[in-house]
């Protein structure tokens, strides 16, 4: 090959690659990275983008895709494209909501007032109103802002205290009803190899919130707008974290967090704060050797509590196909009781949010599952929509310092409450 032809070849190679790269870039601009038109092939006029967080139980992703397909079968005009979002779901969702790639409808665990204030959510009154009585008051109150309902509760997840019957028997303690009994049980159940209580890998988890609630306190006062976690009663209750740590029976640093049944099912602890979703795994591991109770009451004026979380279906106010979104939400979470049951008990374990559907679900008719429903109804409590991440961070930071004995509870919580109030005021402004 002569040098001349070589140079020509090199030039044509360069030109070719530039053209190729340019073409690829152009193709990238016009292509469809999020597969927005997935439904176009099937002939649907509208394709809705729906987001779920990645549920851990196997079969869940296939299930929501199946629901979407069944809906399209019944409504050929509307296709649903499901995105399964792994990792820090809420952060990813929050970022996406500011862009054109925002989903038309999505689920959210902790409802945030801020989203309504920022005009991100569409009211769903026309969907919920006909069946309003089916939902618990808490499930409606949380998502009601200025008289409008912004979410449909899909599932209830109650969180409660699991205890190992045989371990309690061996140590001669009863399932704790008061905080004093909880301290005593945590101390006595600690055998070195098996610790007494697990509330989270950081030794705090939800315990600070539960102590606050179980003393009769709350994050906000009765007006719902004044931060109240630094009242004298609340300070005494949250100070209980230090007492729990001082028992020496608190398990810390377990590789999986409290939301996973691992520590309890593997016998690393005799009691664990956990979710209803863990119940099938715990049953598989321990058989009948476990029971559930609410978090014990703190002091004489307190009450036993359990946290009721769960997931809400929400609609994007800026969606171009709001009617189709409502039609789908109505079909899936109101009309279709069979799919709601399927979603709640076939993969994980959740209580259907609508009472008539829950009543039909036979899985909750006996044993600890039945107790869980009772706890959820009698002791259940949820976060206020005003309680946002900034306030929660302030509260948990203070609680962590108190738990480790690094700070005076009154000063630390007073300071955190002042800052949290500033956050809340800004939200309301």
């Amino acid at each position: 090959m002569s040098p001349e032809t070589f140079r020509l070849n090199r030039r044509s190679f360069l030109v070719g690659s530039v053209l190729f790269a340019g073409g690829a870039a152009l193709a990238g601009c016009t292509s469809d990275p999020l597969n927005k038109n997935a439904g176009a092939a099937s002939g649907a006029k509208v394709t809705l983008q729906q987001w779920y967080h990645a549920y851990g139980e196997s079969g869940t992703q296939q299930a929501v895709q199946r629901y979407a397909q069944e809906f399209t079968k019944a409504n050929p005009d509307i296709a649903i494209n499901v995105s399964w979002i792994a990792g820090d779901y809420e952060t990813k969702l929050n970022s996406a909501m500011l862009t054109a790639q925002a989903p038309d409808l999505f689920e959210l665990g902790d409802f945030r007032y801020q989203n309504v204030k920022n005009g991100l959510l569409a009211p769903l009154d026309d969907v919920v109103d006909p069946v309003k009585a089916d939902f618990s008051p808490a499930a409606l109150d949380t998502v009601t802002v200025d008289g409008k309902i912004y979410g449909v509760k899909m599932i209830d997840d109650v969180m409660m205290l699991y205890y190992r019957k045989s371990a309690l028997q061996a140590a001669g303690v009863q399932p704790p009803q008061t905080f004093a009994e909880l301290l005593d049980a945590t101390r006595k159940l600690n055998t070195g190899k098996q610790k007494g209580l697990y509330v989270g890998t950081d030794g705090v988890g939800e315990a600070a919130t539960l102590l606050l609630w179980s003393s009769g306190g709350d994050f906000f006062d009765s007006s719902g707008k004044k931060v109240a976690f630094a009242s004298p009663e609340a300070i005494a209750a949250i100070g209980g974290l230090k007492q729990l740590h001082d028992t020496g029976g608190l398990l810390q640093g377990y590789p999986t967090d409290w939301s996973d049944p691992g520590a309890f099912a593997n016998g690393a602890t005799a009691m664990q704060w956990g979710g209803l979703w863990s119940l099938p795994d715990i049953k598989k591991a321990l058989g009948d050797d476990f029971g559930v109770i609410a978090w014990p009451k703190f002091g004489d004026t307190g009450k036993q509590v359990a946290r009721v979380g769960g997931w809400y279906q929400l609609a994007n106010a800026k969606s171009a196909h709001l009617d189709a979104v409502k039609q789908f939400i109505n079909w899936l979470w109101i009309k279709n009781a069979d799919l709601q049951k399927d979603w709640c008990v076939k993969y994980g374990f959740h209580i259907p949010a609508r009472k008539p559907v829950a009543a039909q679900t036979t899985e909750f008719s006996s044993g600890p599952a039945k107790d869980a429903v009772t706890i959820s109804q009698q002791n259940g409590k949820s976060y206020s929509g005003l309680w946002n991440k900034a306030s929660a961070t302030l509260f948990l930071q203070a609680a962590t310092k108190i738990a480790n004995g690094q700070a005076d509870p009154a000063a630390e919580l007073g300071d955190a409450a002042k800052k949290a109030q500033a956050e809340v005021d800004k939200q309301l402004a």
Partner: protein, 317 residues
Amino acid sequence: MTAVMEKAPAVRVVAKRRRRRDWRAIGAFTVLTGPVVLGLGLFKYVAIAWSFLLSFNDARGTITIGHWIGFDNYAFLLGDDAFRTSLTTIALFTVFIVPITFVASLGLAVLVNSIRRGKAFFRTVFLIPAAVSYVVAALVWKMALFNGLPSGVANVLGGLFGADPVPWLSETSPPVYWVAVVTLRLWLQVGLYMILFLAGLKAISPSLYEAGELDGTTKWQAFRYITLPQLRNTSVAVLLLILIAAFQAFDEFYNLFGTGLSGTATAPVKPPLVYLYDSALGDQNYGVGSAGAFLLTVLIVVITLLQGRFVGFGKKD
């Protein structure tokens, strides 16, 4: 005269050709650098400028500009003890981690360079951790090495000396979580800087050592008066890189102390980047997040300039 007349057209031709060639060069330059410049401009500089504007706005749950509040975000951050604590934390962390990483990687490089056999083997062994992601390493540290169970590796080792199991990542008195943080960073970084030092060592002329030997230097003297001065440029560059990396610490703190459910709220220690991540992405307060990013940038620039002044970055030998 005639010679000049004859030459003129030739000059014109040359000039013409040169100009044509210049155009082609400019064209090629544009085509080849254009996409990068455009991409950088669009995705970096526009974003940075936008973020700068955002830092003077009350931007909660939005990235649109319009709600101007002057320096309020900066004032909020400087007045917030959590942010100030995160700055002191990172300063302390830097004061410790920079010399340790520097000495460890220089020491390893000198050792690996001095052995006769298996140089390539050891070089590879020490470099491999640098290829591991911070996230993966942090999970290994958290779940296997430093978990709170009696069966965790650190607790088993401690048990050999009669120590009780410790929840390494949440114990604050004494703050043993630093053991996990520092060992993790050293394991990941030392190999990379060792390679840079090895390259520097290779560039030192053996004749210097031979001359030293003739004059009867000891090993320490050779290191002190030949190796170290010859490595000055490498050392300064490595110091700078370690310093910036320390100030930008995020991954290991986020992954070691984050619980997924409460994020990093219960972390015993929070560097500025984790604080800003929580403000901007966790709580969607993009104004405060942007302001904090610029404060941190100013801090890094100032410290780097100071360091350059004292150590002499870019000075001629």
